[in-house]
Symmetry: D2
Subunit: 344 residues, 4 copies
């Protein structure tokens, strides 16, 4: 932490800040400058917040220096984490494509789409049994019967299952039925839910909140890891900006930023990230080109009849093209598409 | 809903859209124009989403027209809702000032601050027993012992209590101990929690999410009301923007927008909304001047020792000045400060 | 400037940074910490940018500390600047209300509105002769004939004139005809135009850009002042965010931030800041309550026939009410409405 | 345009809106619905703005439908525009890489870097002679001597030159010395400058403003084209958001959006778009993968001594790698790197 004094700060004011910091058991390092003095602060800050000196007379600004995350950091673990989702590795040198409908609607619908995902070269199946919807009057998902459908799809097509938990009850059920617990953007800072996910032994896919900073995303991952679950994957799904040509602005530059700071895998969701079907294929290519470990895309065989988010779902034909193109781009980077599970 | 066709759309393309809409049981109203045709859609849209025609050939854009909220709307209830929080009316002609520490730290601390709130002219006491903190390593609140402290403060000072619930468990406890359940910004779209709050008989203070639109805030209120709890108060607490002179950008223009659309009371939280102590007093005045029904501010007698958010807490002296000034401004608008509860 | 080293930075890496900084003629102050080392940098940085060390091995981050603005700062001039616009003081203890149509359309229109502004208690008249319009096909203003109309209005009603310059040519003409040169939001970083304005002897009203930070606004003011024109007034007019209930999000918290850092007057424009007529009155009250030195509002006697921005113009009746209400709120803060110029 | 009436709007209110629209010479099409009536508006709207009916009693909202741009639209010209910059084609099936220092500092510096650009496979050279700097105290560019240096570099290395104009004077000089006029982000809505550029016969590279919508960018291009200059190239360079891990958020999804709506070429600038050297290579790959017609990157042989923006410049070695990688990715899309001009 660094305290910047005003240009005209009196020596007594500087001393008052130094004394207060030292009273907190920290060390103060005054750095006199041509125009003003800055004071560096070092030491453990457990409990008390030296930021309070911002309100002292003569203080211009207090600047945070060190990050609060630990377990997610490459400083804690230099090597890339590889998370196994039902036998499919996420992270490392392979890339993956996760596909499926926004919502599980029926066994027929899920089987039809899953077959296309498998044939098209996808490694994981994602579908929602619990749907966090902005309006209480929108379709909220099939609930546990939806999870049963997902479990049958996994058995039939050897596709491990990713599905979203929206509260403790649904998370406990998902642990039994599925291979990976998704925490959605709206729950990225539902810390109680993160703690429950941290006690699970299933891997967790954590999506970035709509206005979350990189640091907040990492601290939410830290919540899960600090409870003992180290199998965490991050996911960029677009942030909210003034731009109106897409539903959200997909922030691909977070991928290299994440790769630099943390060892966790990072996926990209261009379906929610753009909200427009015709942007999903090009943004998937871009996601792999920037270095993501995979993409999640919504696929529906009859998007015009989908119960939710139809306008952003791609067809099975486009899905197949997408897998081909992201594989080709991965090869430019010396990576390859992860093989799908063999039929059991 | 309005479908806008491309300039060169063929008659068959227009007809295909019309046919599809009518197949959904809705009514299509083509409006031929000089350059292009638009198609109005009317009728109930339960279940199916006509937005899917956006993907039809020849379609340029689909524009949403009608809102999904009902119970929160002035169309449903023209008169202002007045919510009673432990005997203090919120909404209507009176304005209120809610004060208290960010976190309940001890009985002593809470009593000291509560006494100042009462003396200074505040009507409600707010303090956090459960703190949703960005980092798992930050102080997370005292939990139930904190609620016990709050209950004692209410008895001693006749100050009804507002405190935040972060999950179902804490909400159930807060129902027993406090007078009003706060749902924080990070949980504004924790729909499971909103449904639980909707089944409570205690009033709910719902804070706007950091990147929530007005419509999303109202739909979250609709979640609570659609479960049967009509005692909902809204709260603006700043949104996330590129601006860096405050922690968030307090969006005061939402106050008249809310007053126009909904009958629910709207409060403003300038402490979280700015994150800077020296902005709390001026932004409180502005909040009342723009038409808010009250303000929530963080008060601490020793901010430099606060366990959380010290830099945004004001002193009891500034609190007293704040109550005087917002009262004077309310009078310009023909409103007055709500009287505090008399000592019992 | 502060250089933060990575946790595992080697002593040689730290030394390499220190050596490079000293080679630039600056002074390096290493601050060893429990986990990592930080290095404070002091001295004049003319020309070379020590930020380059961000790319050195072992460096985690470089943090800027000191601001680049000088003349605008309260450190340079502690007392409030009062700018005289054609005899009306802006800044200091008085507040002002500036009114007028978005665009000057005709002598009749301007006279009609100016009369209402004068009767309603406004101190300055603003109208656009040069209109920066998003589309090349929109009405672009009357140009010099519009300036002639404005000059006649000033003579007839004793209302000093504020009008916008969009390039060097229009600025030179405005200098001759008007009392104050407005630089619009879209030109806030048109540095060539700022330099020309800095050579003028007429006061300048500088509007904040749609996504400008406080520091950028102040540096644009610094451009004008560094050319010798110290009569600069700042103006908040809303920033661009994801919020969609208003055209822009009016950021009132910048008013106390500006008052703290700079001695220049700050006005607020709730007409452009919200884009909605029904928000202009409440946001004007809020602007004065937060401490602004005045408001600028668009007034039109027949908004439905206005050639630009009709939906945000208020009627002369609402203008009169607005002047009354902001005056009443100013009095709560111990300020008063500046008297208008007496008829000459 | 669509007018949405309130649920309880009276028939007289609906009629008043219809009558007003027809008085303006437009056609009104009322669409009665289950809950409310909407009114479609068609016809030419030259001069008058029907948006004014938003203020009529009973009106809930007015929704814009048709875009104001014409010449930039694919509806006006279905085929891709290919712009020749000094003999190098931009747009079409080839992709290009533009490189150079942020600022021209000396003949030596420019020659050294240009040689590396040429050897590394770049097609165009960009360097700034006029630098729009946030602070008046920062290095503002060499001016005309910088243009002379650029002209010599072109002759020596057969690299056509792109350089930024900041006002009419610099634009006129650039027309003589260079092959392409860049209009920077800060001047995207400097409409006077756009008109001057529209009268030039040199191609124009127009960068998106920091908070510009897609429509605003296209309308600024329309300003240039409506003056007769059809050789316009667009450039995405990042927008301003709350995210803080990069200087701006590069919005790659605008590339497919632009390709859909307009026939103009679109380039991407990952150097300004991220502000971080280590993001330039991955974001360049992503830009080509999403479908951009080329990238602009800052290159410096000694970034630690650069007079501006050193931390975002890449080394000649990374530049060479970048050209190789974007070429490989272009091939996945069936495109190729445009050949550089042969030595003359």
């Amino acid at each position: 932490m660094l305290v910047v004094m005003e240009a005209g700060a009196a020596p007594e004011q500087i001393e008052a800040v130094v004394r207060h910091i030292e009273k907190m058991g920290l060390k103060a390092h005054p750095i006199p400058g041509a125009h003003r003095t800055a004071i560096g602060i070092t030491g453990h800050q457990r409990g008390k917040d030296p930021g309070i000196v911002e309100t002292f007379p003569g203080v211009k600004e207090v600047i945070q220096v060190s990050q609060a995350y630990k377990l997610v950091s490459r400083e804690a673990k230099p090597d890339d984490t590889i998370v196994s989702v039902g036998g499919v590795d996420v992270g490392g040198n392979g890339i993956i494509v996760v596909g499926g409908p926004c919502a599980v609607e029926s066994l027929d619908q899920s089987r039809t789409i899953a077959e296309q995902i498998k044939l098209g070269g996808g490694q994981l199946f994602r579908g929602g049994a619990y749907k966090p919807r902005t309006s209480p009057y929108s379709f909220q998902g099939l609930g546990e019967p939806g999870l049963e459908i997902l479990a049958r799809v996994r058995e039939e097509f050897d596709l491990p299952i990713v599905t979203e938990a929206i509260d403790e009850t649904s998370l406990k059920l998902i642990e039994q039925y599925a291979d990976c617990i998704q925490i959605g953007a709206r729950n990225m800072q539902n810390f109680s839910l993160l703690k429950v996910a941290g006690k699970s032994r299933k891997p967790v896919l954590l999506k970035r909140g709509m206005s979350a900073t990189l640091e907040e995303l990492l601290l939410s991952a830290e919540y899960i890891m600090s409870e003992g679950n180290y199998n965490v994957m991050l996911c960029e799904r677009g942030v909210r900006t003034f731009a109106d040509h897409t539903r959200n602005t997909l922030d691909l530059s977070i991928v290299p930023a994440i790769k630099r700071i943390t060892h966790l895998p990072i996926l990209v969701d261009p379906s929610h990230g753009t909200g427009k079907r015709n942007k999903v294929l090009p943004m998937s290519r871009a996601a792999i080109a920037v270095g993501a470990d995979g993409v999640l895309v919504e696929v529906h065989h009859k998007p015009e009849e989908a119960l939710s988010d139809g306008p952003q779902a791609i067809s099975p034909e486009v899905f197949e093209q997408l897998v081909r193109e992201v594989d080709a781009i991965a090869r430019v980077l010396g990576r390859t598409l992860q093989p799908a599970l063999a039929a059991s």
